[in-house]
């Protein structure tokens, strides 16, 4: 299981990225929180599935322009 925050900009807000993540890959997506505004939006997702499959799915999301981050912010602190 992974918890991630996807950040979308501009055109991607209108794209069904979360749907495609579950359709293209063997991943169960569960939206826990989200906020979409003009020009920017984010979704906090719970992802269930094989670790390697989740990695592939998130890599695909990055390639289409979605920013993928840890759900609760960076854990590596200066």
């Amino acid at each position: 299981m992974q918890r991630v925050r996807l950040t979308f900009l501009d055109r991607l807000i209108k794209e069904p990225v979360v749907y495609q993540l579950g359709k293209k890959f063997d991943i169960v997506t569960n939206i826990r929180r989200a906020d979409i505004q003009e020009g920017i939006g984010w979704v906090i997702l719970e992802l269930e599935g094989d670790d390697a499959e989740i990695d592939r799915g998130l890599e695909w999301a990055r390639t289409v322009g979605v920013r993928v981050d840890p759900a609760l912010g960076d854990l590596v602190e200066p």
Binding site: Q2, R3, R5, T7, L9, R32, R33, D35, Q37, I40, G41, W42, I44, E46, R67, V68, D69, P70, A71, L72, G73, D74, L75, V76, E77, P78
Partner: protein
Amino acid sequence: MTHVTSLRCKECSREYPVGAFNVCEFCFGPLEVRYDLDAIKAAVSRESIAAGPNSLWRYAEFLPADHNPDVDINAGFTPLIRSKGLADKLGLEELWIKNDSVNPSYSFKDRVVAVASAKALELGFDTLACASTGNLACAVAAHAARGNMKAYVFIPSDLEAGKVLGAAIYGPTMIAIDGTYDDVNRLCSELADTYPWAFVNINIRPFYADGSKTLGFEVAEQLGWRAPAHVVAPSASGAMFTKIYQGFNEFAYTGLIGKVETKMHCVQARGCSPIATAYEEGRLIIRPVRANTIAKSLGIGNPADGYYALKVIEASGGSAVIAEEHEVAEGIKLLAEADGIFTEGAGGVAVAGLRRLVARGTIKPDEPTVLYITGNGLKTTEVVADVVHPIHIEATVAAFQDAIGARA
């Protein structure tokens, strides 16, 4: 004794019993510590606090852990200095510098780790852990050493070894992880779920964060029991910034100071400014960035408390400012030359932000202002290495006098 009542989700307000977890099971929102502020109000007075230890534990009634001398390295109660040189240069009548660079491991991180480590012992942990490239690693390793606890410090493998010397000296187990920054983040999240350790900024984070409230408490007490008109503070995750404001407000609620009218100003460097950029664009959504700033101790591109920092700015009538990268070293040098305080990059960013706030008229000359300096310059000497240019002379008095252009 503590006056903690529960942990509560900052997003959906669900309550949880006190324990080592930081995430709401329902909405994945961050948890924060809730207190019985009325019980605190009944328990404290200016006199009782003033009679307490010269450390952050003088505010123990407001903290989520009891004071434990076994793990205490005397963090906090650092000097609040009335600026002369910088105040004169900027035309400010009442500028104060909170010099938190003189904590035991030389940064404000000792405050958060002091509370986290005391709470970790209370909760039965024997191991402290963190993922850090700098100040946090030092604070964790130092407290673990004092508390006879095991310590694990995770660092990216491409980090220069010298960067973590300040942590390594305390003898933690240091793990260098091959992979990207994201890989390190993810591994630490998995380890925090797997090992029975107190990962200070993960499963202990609600308690850890509240250590920074003491930066608000101390300033209010040291100013003679009042909050300033302006706070100027550097920000990375946004947690410290929000907790300073919470500290002022808890003091006001409990009657120790009057109404808080402090405007909170957050400063970030151009190379990592997700909070300040959102502020400038007039939105409350943080767009994460890849950190690329000379102010390494502010290098958090995906700030956990960025949204809450923006809310504090909004609630207080404050602002956010971006310091250009070239201003970082300038700010460090200015503070050193003007007031005799040698700070790291984050301090240079704060000084640069203060200059901008004064220049744009946000801070008026007669308004009491506190500048937070959160880390020590000796940790990042490479940023200002160009200041070293001695005058070379022969070993004679005449050569000396020729060099400085003055004869006795």
